[in-house]
Assembly symmetry: C3
Homo-oligomer: 198 residues x 3
């Protein structure tokens, strides 16, 4: 339940980031809505297509469209306020990242895939939306460049797979994994850690 609430909040944050990214490129309301939608739902969409779980969730439950619409409204009406909330947004964004990774892995496990495939699908679930957002903005995807987004997801995913072996309660596993992703992300932002191949 709390997982569901946080994932919804995380998706909304992703959607707002997409809509703001669209506005920066002077897209119209439809462009903002599409970018919000793609950023929030892109990862789950690719995962669904790859494991043959179609139609994807967003065609069965209108929630994602609602979140994309909400993200567009926030980007239009409250982008100033949103910027002021920067710190809170970073935390929720990191939490979304962690929960998307966990959800991606759990759904992949339910489809009987091997652990490394589940890990890959977890990372795809968390990062592909942002990658699509950047491609549509006509930019090299941020996730492939400077941020340690992906590293945080991979470490979180590996932790999840490791903790699974210990037979802990799902809530505990989820809590540790999410906290880990959030901490890594926030440390990275704090110390501006980038990974570069120079």
């Amino acid at each position: 339940m709390i997982h569901y609430v946080w994932e919804t909040v995380g998706t909304l944050v992703f959607c707002v980031s997409g809509a703001i990214a669209a506005r920066e490129k002077e897209m119209d309301w439809f462009g903002m809505f599409v970018m919000a939608f793609v950023t929030g739902a892109g990862g789950g969409l690719l995962r669904s297509v790859l494991i043959g779980d179609v139609p994807p969730q967003f065609l069965k439950n209108p929630m994602t469209f609602g979140l994309a619409a909400g993200g567009t409204v926030i980007a239009l009406a409250g982008s100033e306020w949103w910027r002021k909330m920067r710190r809170a947004v970073s935390v929720v964004d990191a939490l979304g990242l962690g929960l998307f990774t966990v959800t991606g892995i759990r759904i992949s496990q339910a489809h009987g895939l091997p652990w490394w495939a589940c890990l890959a699908l977890g990372v795809i679930s968390a990062t592909f939306g942002g990658l699509l957002r950047d491609v549509l903005r006509n930019e090299i995807p941020l996730v492939l460049r400077k941020e340690i987004y992906a590293t945080a997801c991979i470490i979180g995913g590996l932790a999840l797979l490791g903790l699974d072996r210990l037979g802990l309660h799902e809530g505990v596993v989820l809590g540790i994994t999410s906290t880990l992703v959030v901490v890594i992300r926030l440390l990275a932002i704090r110390y501006a850690i980038h990974q570069s191949t120079g």
Copy 2:
């Protein structure tokens, strides 16, 4: 039947627009063919993948390849003539847009999806080909920026879903919806209506 003829003509117009867009970026004949194909078939392709209706139509019926080849030839041999026909092209393009929306919605309805998912798939069917064309041209997709392409599709799609309730003959519904999309598009071109978020 007349639906089929118009959809074929609409696809051809989409294909020519893709091939011309390719030529402007100095692509070779293969690039032109791929861009023609992607612009004409991209929307239907994504719809097929999302609803699990694979292999998509273009792998079962060679028509799309023929239309892409035809579009490439027209872009190579008759781009001058094509420009002169600008007004006629706009009408056929708008008609294609309307019919792609309708076809997308009808196919989605046949798969038992809810109305809002059908509407989304209708808009995707009509606009995704052009979006892919622009991504391959390394540009921010036009449909996300200035044109009211998407708005016309959404209004047409909503009209279709509304008219369905009235129990009218399919031909009448189709005629009203298509006319609506064409009129909106042509008015937008006439008065250069753009939607901007400033």
Copy 3:
């Protein structure tokens, strides 16, 4: 068996090309890995999704992830040495191109698709990875511009489909087809043949 060995080597060459292309754009290690992976596996992935053969191979066999990791290491540690091997790399790359085309056609045939659809899927299998690589690099895909990559694949594919009619041994058919693609590619590189539409 020899087919399998060469395809693996061909995939590795594709992966290295992706990782080097990533490094040129100053991506981090994750970006290099993703670009290696996408370049090596993108064609097979799209083919799998289009014919409904999901989950795709890379989620069932970890080999592709290993090759992408290997390609990343080579691009990081040995890009100087790799450049010196340019001629050998060109041959292996062309061989990969030919074998990807053949594999794509054979798998499509096994799914009962018509010959022209098999040919299209063969070309997609061989070229889509490089196309994705260039889109992620924020460039107009090379395969749509100057190289005769696609032409070599199409001629090789047509030769394969033609030779099939003669009832020759699979090894002979494969040998002729691959040689043809390699020769066309190397001649093109030698004489810098480009196809331009002016």
